[in-house]
């Protein structure tokens, strides 16, 4: 059903080589030290990964969602935090490419090749799945807007990470989510924009996730993305693409956990034979592999529909829901196959088990995905 083109095969080979040679050896330190080293950003910028889906005329590679899925899987297979950073970057690229004006596209998509990343700041303490109940405000003042409020759990923003963020705020409280929300691109270092708490997380510990604080932060109207009152439209424009991205991330985690399980089960000797000789574990691995493949097919189907420029809301939600759920199941089985060693921090499956936990929660929880899917079924 999905035969890869020569370019897609080459992309997979290149990202796998890069991830295996450079990202995998760093993955343990990324988790333990809690940040992704600068060289990773620089390399991923230089070889073009961070601009994968940005149009060619803005310095990107102009690749489609199928390529995006394939690339994220390969990165996620070896380093959870780097994959999360990468998936978010491709999401913000997509949103800027879809909603930005010429100047914005030139500036913000062009930064990727220098390893400079962006963030998507919608979530607030009281506005998670209910994204419409924002409290942050943007008050018009001459040709500027004054931003006040805070955002939480914002990926790609940390002490040294993140050059810019797409920030959503109310420009008309009365209209609320129906035309009262506006998206702004806010540069790091804009007076009044500071970083609050750097989150201490269960998994993807190397991914920079912070609280953003805006206190009388003055932003010129040229920084409005997609027009005043069009904020929810901007936010929703990236939903499907973002969900396919997290599906790919989940699949990569699961693939990594499966690969490690196969390798370990062949080496680990108990009762004078490798534990892979036990049918109980063989069946685990057969089921893990089948679920990973099924998830990959769902993600590639959604991506292939989107690559044709068509809407894939239901398919993207199915891919995200299924992939993230099976990835948690696969990671748990991988720890089980590793036995006591799988519980130890010296083994990569322990990290994957923690990294994978977020995938059923963010970018629309499994419960929200089921709402989206059933809404389509029952319309």
């Amino acid at each position: 059903m999905f035969e890869l083109t020569k370019e897609q095969e080459m992309l997979v080979k290149m990202v796998r080589d890069y991830a295996t040679n450079e990202l995998e050896p760093r993955a343990e330190a990324v988790d333990k030290e809690g940040f992704i080293p600068q060289e990773t950003y620089e390399e991923m910028g230089k070889i073009g990964l961070l601009g994968l889906n940005a149009p060619k005329e803005y310095g990107g590679a102009g690749m489609d969602d199928i390529c995006k899925v394939l690339a994220i899987i390969e990165v996620a297979r070896v380093c959870g935090a780097t994959a999360e950073m990468f998936a978010v970057q491709l999401l913000v690229n997509y949103i800027i490419a879809t909603n930005g004006n010429e100047e914005q596209k030139k500036k913000y998509l062009g930064m990727a090749k220098d390893g400079k990343i962006g963030a998507f700041a919608l979530t607030e303490p009281e506005a998670g799945s209910d994204a419409g109940s924002l409290q942050m405000t943007a008050e018009k003042d001459g040709d500027d807007y004054i931003l006040n409020g805070s955002k939480v759990f914002i990926s790609n923003m940390g002490p040294n990470e993140g050059e810019w963020a797409i920030v959503f705020a109310l420009t008309d409280k009365a209209k609320g989510s129906h035309g009262g929300v506006t998206a702004f691109i806010v540069d790091r270092g804009t007076p009044g924009f500071t970083l609050g708490k750097l989150e201490d997380k269960m998994g993807i510990r190397g991914a920079a996730v912070s609280e953003l604080i805006f206190e009388d932060c003055r932003v010129p109207s040229s920084q409005v993305l997609g027009g005043e009152g069009k904020g929810m439209h901007v936010a929703f424009s990236g939903l499907d693409s973002g969900r396919v991205g997290i599906a790919a991330q989940s699949i990569g985690y699961a693939q990594g956990a499966l690969d490690l399980s196969i390798e370990y089960s062949k080496q680990r000797m108990q009762f004078k034979k490798p534990i892979s000789a036990n049918q109980g574990l063989q069946w685990y691995m057969a089921e893990m592999a089948t679920r990973v493949d099924a998830a990959k097919l769902l993600a590639l189907r959604a991506a292939s529909i989107m690559s044709k420029g068509q809407s894939a809301t239901k398919e993207a939600s199915m891919a995200k829901f299924f992939s993230s759920e099976i990835a948690n199941w696969v990671a748990a089985k991988a720890v089980q196959i590793h036995g006591g060693y799988g519980f130890m921090r010296d083994y990569a499956v322990e990290r994957i088990y923690r990294d994978v936990r977020i995938t059923t929660i963010y970018e629309g929880s499994s419960e929200v995905q089921k709402i989206v899917i059933s809404r389509d079924l029952l319309k």
Partner: protein, 266 residues
């Protein structure tokens, strides 16, 4: 200015070795990789391009699937690729191969400020003969085992990696340099390279293209024309596991001495 790089697609020796009836390797049944030393040669050429803006042309002799490798080298940043491929060339040994490759390089043209790069040796044959033979046939000065290359005008200074040290040599272009894996770390393909590598110039030199080249002698190319006859190819049986002795006490030393004595080593 051009950098012409000769590259070979070799069997991935970490996999299975398949052998044909005539004793030569059945490459179609084996996974392939780009020879490591040749990748170092490509990187050296690309670094020269970074510094001077020169054109990088990659040349490979091999069966049609070698196109995949050449496209990857284009995705790394090479500007043009030439695949030298014909039934008449099949089964060539180093003598025949270097003749054909020299003819191909000659057809591309070696100008005064050009450099020809080769890998030191291929991991399948391990002869390290093709690079030097190409240099001889093209009448170019050659430097082998390059572990560092510096270019200043038409002078190139090369650090040669030898078993017991290194040797510095300076040579004028045009010249041929064979590179060792230690020379550099080959760059990754870029995404931009991947999306453009199928639209870059790509040529196939077949027998018709090269048969009138002065360096080509139809009697000394291919399996029949090669002076080397392969008697047999096989995977060597795996060596048995070694014996590990641990400890720094007298007893362990005695044990070791006894074992060496039993094997008549001491």
């Amino acid at each position: 200015m051009k950098a012409i790089v000769c590259v070979k697609q070799v069997p991935d020796t970490s996999g299975v070795v398949a052998v044909k009836e005539d004793g030569t390797m059945d490459r179609s049944k084996m996974a392939t990789i780009t020879n490591h030393d040749d990748l170092a040669a490509v990187e050296a050429a690309l670094e020269l391009k970074d510094d001077t803006g020169c054109e990088v042309i990659v040349v490979s002799m091999g069966p049609p699937p070698a196109e995949g490798m050449l496209r990857e080298l284009l995705a790394m940043g090479a500007d043009k690729a030439v695949l030298v491929s014909a039934r008449e060339f099949g089964g060539s040994d180093t003598y025949a191969t270097s003749q054909i490759l020299a003819a191909a390089v000659n057809k591309i043209g070696v100008d005064d400020d050009d450099v020809v790069f080769c890998g030191r040796q291929a991991i399948d044959g391990d002869t390290a003969q093709v690079g030097p033979q190409i240099a001889e046939k093209l009448n170019l000065p050659q430097i082998t085992y390059a572990a560092d290359i510096k270019k200043d005008g038409n002078k190139i200074t090369v650090k040669r990696l030898l078993e017991d040290g290194h040797m510095m040599l300076t040579v004028e272009t045009p010249c041929l340099i064979t590179c060792v894996q230690e020379l550099n770390k080959p760059r990754y393909m870029t995404l931009d390279g991947i999306t453009s590598c199928y639209s870059k110039p790509y040529e196939v030199f077949d027998f018709e293209t090269l048969k009138n080249e002065p360096l080509i002698d139809p009697d000394t190319i291919g399996l029949q024309g090669s002076p080397t006859n392969v008697y047999k190819s096989f995977s060597p049986p795996p060596k048995g596991g070694g014996i590990m002795l641990e400890g720094n006490d007298q007893k362990t030393c005695d044990q070791l001495a006894n074992m060496l004595n039993e094997k008549h080593i001491i």
